[in-house]
Amino acid sequence: MYLFISPWIIGFLVFALYPILSSLYFSFTDYDIIHPPEFIGLANYREMFQNELFWQSVRVTLKFTFISVPVQLLLALGFALLLNQKIPLRGFFRTAMYFPSMVSGVAMSLLWYWIFNPQIGLFNYMLSWFGIRGPAWLMDPDTALYALIIMTFWTAGSGMILFLAGLQGVPSSLVEAARLDGAGRFKIFVHVVLPMISPVLLFQLIMGIIDSFQVFTQAYVMTQGGPNYSTWFYVYNLYTSAFKEYRAGYSSALAWVLLIAVMLCTALIMKLSNRFVHYEGGGRR
């Protein structure tokens, strides 16, 4: 086994271990990046829990995660199932769905800024077809976070191709057998297909959580954490502390709290998943 995972272990020891341990050390120091760090014990951690902006960033991030991750998973799975049928233009649809995930950062934020433009944006224009007067989206503290959540749905295509790859691994013989037994469409999906792709589902769930706990770029480029702190994400807060406030020590402490939180979350999901996730192989040795 170690033969197989040795490349990663070497990489880990050489490239990851030192930065990770340094950041752990920095989290116990007062460090402004310019001058050498100074040990101050748990002061950074103590300050964090009294800091208003810290709690705001936790609220924003959790809300974002709880909404965007499940919806994005459902959308991706839905598209994958639709596109796993033999229907006309299948290749075109797959490509079109995936297209948005190919657009690079700067262009993406520019496009979405335009889409959410309250006066002339695409989004409110489309809402007006149904007689709905859309909100100011990114410029309104009540809707800015939702705008960023909606934006993540546009890139559901990348989850879709993961599910497609997973669906390709479901042996047709199994489905055939179930069908011969007289199982309906829904039953086959729940009892045959879903268990077979559950490892992929688990992967996407965990990665979705890790990713959305680390949302940064949208907040940095599009909203600068505003308006009125409504998109003050955890990692935006962390970045601001490090590079705008010159407080690398405090920001390392933030990073470690995040690490521990995500770790607990992941461990919990993994534990629960043992009951639901179906592994065909998994060489128990």
């Binding site: 030192y18 290749g91 657009v103 990348s158 920001s251």
Partner: protein
């Protein structure tokens, strides 16, 4: 933009969504649903292309025009004057290609190790692997920079490429999940034939993971292709710059109106390799895996 042709009828049995047999209402509804969704999804991209063809003066118009009043195809040449577009493109291609190669080989190897063997130490290593993804990049930026500058790798592509050859956590995890879905019987059969584990990996596991490997290749490519922060930190001479650096330099002036039309040109051209790669990889999703002949 090229449409990816599917070889829908390749004659190989592959799994379809249940009920797909009857050309029934489900299919018609699906088709219409897909049509509506793709239409909305492609609208912004349409805007992107049309903007790339506008003149700089038309960019200032309010409300903005949907179709360019005058078609400025010259924008697609101008970008080569404004930015050293050729150099940027070449550098990005080199870095992305090497990263994909490294990621594919190392991640597939490591993921197989994690999927096939479940010892006591395994779980700890696996949690460690996941934890490397949980520390946000800004937190390790400075120590990592110190490390790479001690290795004298500043202003080379090495910091962008070499780590990929030691496996990327995300892709290892992804491939591990796929390897876990493969039936044990397959590997037992291989072992009975006297194959070494590496040979089983190479001869049995990899060929069955086509779609997953294709996915990893696409993800690794996009990740490297669009990465901005790492190249900005490690590259210092313009002849080594990558595409995202060049593109963000277009909007970097605090004192000038950014040339949005040129940015859109760059964005359109930047999508070409990804679309091509996706078109090639699509075959993997279409063909599917046939596991007939093996009892489950």
């Amino acid at each position: 933009m090229s449409t990816v042709r599917t070889a829908a009828e390749r004659g190989r049995p592959s799994f379809e969504t249940p009920g797909a047999r009857k050309p029934d209402t489900v299919k018609i509804v699906s088709f219409l649903l897909l049509l509506a969704t793709t239409f909305t999804m492609l609208l912004p991209l349409f805007f992107m292309v049309s903007t790339s063809l506008k003149s700089s003066r038309e960019m200032l118009k309010f409300p903005p025009t949907f179709i360019p009043e005058t078609w400025s195809f010259g924008n697609y040449l101008e970008i080569f004057d404004t930015l050293q577009f050729g150099t940027l493109y070449k550098n990005s291609l080199i870095v992305a290609a090497m990263s994909v190669l490294g990621t594919l080989i190392s991640s597939a190897l490591v993921a197989y190790g994690f999927a096939r063997y479940r010892g006591r130490g395994n779980n700890i290593w696996f949690m460690l692997l996941l934890s490397t993804m949980m520390l946000p990049y800004p937190a390790i930026m400075v120590p990592q920079f110190i490390l790479f500058s001690k290795l004298q790798w500043i202003d080379t592509f090495l910091p962008l490429i070499v780590p990929a050859f030691f496996g990327s956590a995300y892709n290892i995890f992804l491939l591990r999940q796929f390897f876990l879905t493969l039936p044990d019987d397959l590997f037992d059969a291989g072992r009975m034939d006297g194959c070494s584990e590496l040979r089983i990996w190479y001869k049995i596991a990899l060929p069955l993971s086509g779609p997953a490997l294709a996915t990893v290749a696409i993800f690794a490519f996009i990740y490297s292709w669009n990465d901005l922060l790492t190249p900005v930190l490690y590259l210092s001479s313009s002849e080594h710059f990558t595409l995202p650096i060049g593109m963000s330099s277009l909007t970097s002036s605090r004192f000038r109106i950014p040339p949005w039309h040129l940015l859109m040109v760059a964005s359109v051209l930047a999508m070409v390799p990804i679309v091509t790669l996706f078109a090639v990889a699509q075959k993997q999703f279409v063909e599917g895996i046939v596991l007939t002949g093996i009892k489950s």
